[in-house]
């Protein structure tokens, strides 16, 4: 929900991370339920990919801030006709 409601780009990013963490938790739970460890390995992959994604995302936000002096996503309407 945070992704849809919030207007600050960094908070949206944090909400996305929260979604990924929810998935991690669910993965580990199911792994315990099924008595096999595939999902626990999967969790490591999700962590690595999430880290890569955050590093790209934060640098995009910094680039945006340098140009616009703001990280409010509401001002992102220049592309609309």
């Amino acid at each position: 929900m945070g992704v849809l409601m919030r207007r600050n780009a960094i908070i949206i990013l944090m909400c996305i991370e929260l979604m990924l963490n929810a998935v991690n938790l669910l993965m580990v739970t199911f792994s315990k339920m099924h008595q096999n460890s595939d999902a626990q390995i999967f969790v490591f992959f999700i962590m690595v990919v999430a880290a890569a994604e955050v590093s790209v995302g934060l640098s995009i936000i910094v680039m945006m801030y340098r140009k616009m002096r703001s990280i409010d996503v509401n001002i992102l309407n220049r592309l609309k006709n």
Binding site: E53, M63, R78
Partner: protein, 458 residues
Amino acid sequence: MNAIIISAILGVIMMFAGIFFKKTSTIQVTAILGSLALLVATFFDHQLVAADTKTYFKMIEVSAYTAWFNMLITFCTLIYFLIFHRDISRVGKNDADYFALMFFILCGVYMLSSYSNLLILFLGIEILSIPQYILAGSDKENVKSNEASLKYFLMGSFSTGILLMGITLIYGATGSFDLYNENFIQQFQSAEGLNTLAFSGILLLLIAFAFKVSAAPLHFWTPDVYDGSPTAFTPFMATIAKVSVFIAFIRLFHYSFGNISSHWQTAIAAMIVLTLLIGNITAVYQQSVKRMMAYSSIAQAGFMLFAIFAFNSTSWQGLILYSVSYTLASLGVFAAILKMKDYTYEGFNGLAQKQPILAATTTICVLSLAGIPLTGGFFAKYFVLSAAIEQGKWVGLVIFAVLMAAVSVYYYFRLVRSMYFQQGDAELKYEPNTVENTLLIINATLVIILGVLPSILL
């Protein structure tokens, strides 16, 4: 199999090439030679694959279809590099890095076309997406490019979260990520025995895929991102990256969820109707050709969804034909957009007098996108629609699609009209040289060859 490793290594080589080679022309030559090497690698993969081969702990499965698709998509990339290499270097100072990112995207493409484990599906989609976020924002001085990149990143990672949730729920229902595991197959054996967990997982996966291929209720990011990113990268993102997600889509939904197609087919039918309607109708009202191409790529995705919808071998052939003809035709049109100073319809006025070759090749590509006979687009549309007719029940949907193709002829021909029949002086940003003209002619010839002999791809 080799192609996955070689493309990743080539990406690293390109990054080092940026340090060691100071001249841009050397970097461009390295990139083109690299894609040539990749083409050879995929060719060997294609030759070596006799039956379906599984490698890497049974996580990757290469079939003849996959290897053939990989080879064709690498060929399209080679053509893209040949036509656009100078424009890629003009985007910014770090041209070697752009080529490197594209090789990494190709690595993701090979993973997506040959996964047999949901882990590889997830990794492939991420390796495909993250470089695209960077490429969209590579023109740092341009606010529109920054904006496109941020929008694409936020929306893309949101859809990644949805994809992961879908994978997790399917794991919860089956206890395995392997598509060929006994429990996995058994769970999706019949429509009655389907567990709620698995069903919601399939639904979430469908949403995530629809997002990545920009199908209708989730298409809103597409026009902004394709319009905002540097024009040199838009064709790559709109064609090669997009059609490979379609291959992943069709693999998962036909191989694994094929027996329970009654559960998802209606959802895809609704998506097709919305995608075709929104894509084509909005494209009619655009003034900028680049934005029109973005909406037309949504509309073309609607046609490609027919291949997922129809459940037979014709749809597999149709998808591969559609991928290649759509890619080649889009490359031709974007090559013309790049050369123009003003890429609205008015900017194209009178191009035919100034640059007859550029105008002619663009016309052929546009005709192919509209699906006029004797071009590749006609047979591509014919195959995916006839796959839907073989299905039987949904003839109304096919008639609707044909009507929408007729609508698309309007905005494609508007471009042809302004090039040939309007007076004006089309100002060019870059004059095309002989080499580029030759390449564009070759590209247009390939589009026509596909229209005359579509069977060479099957």
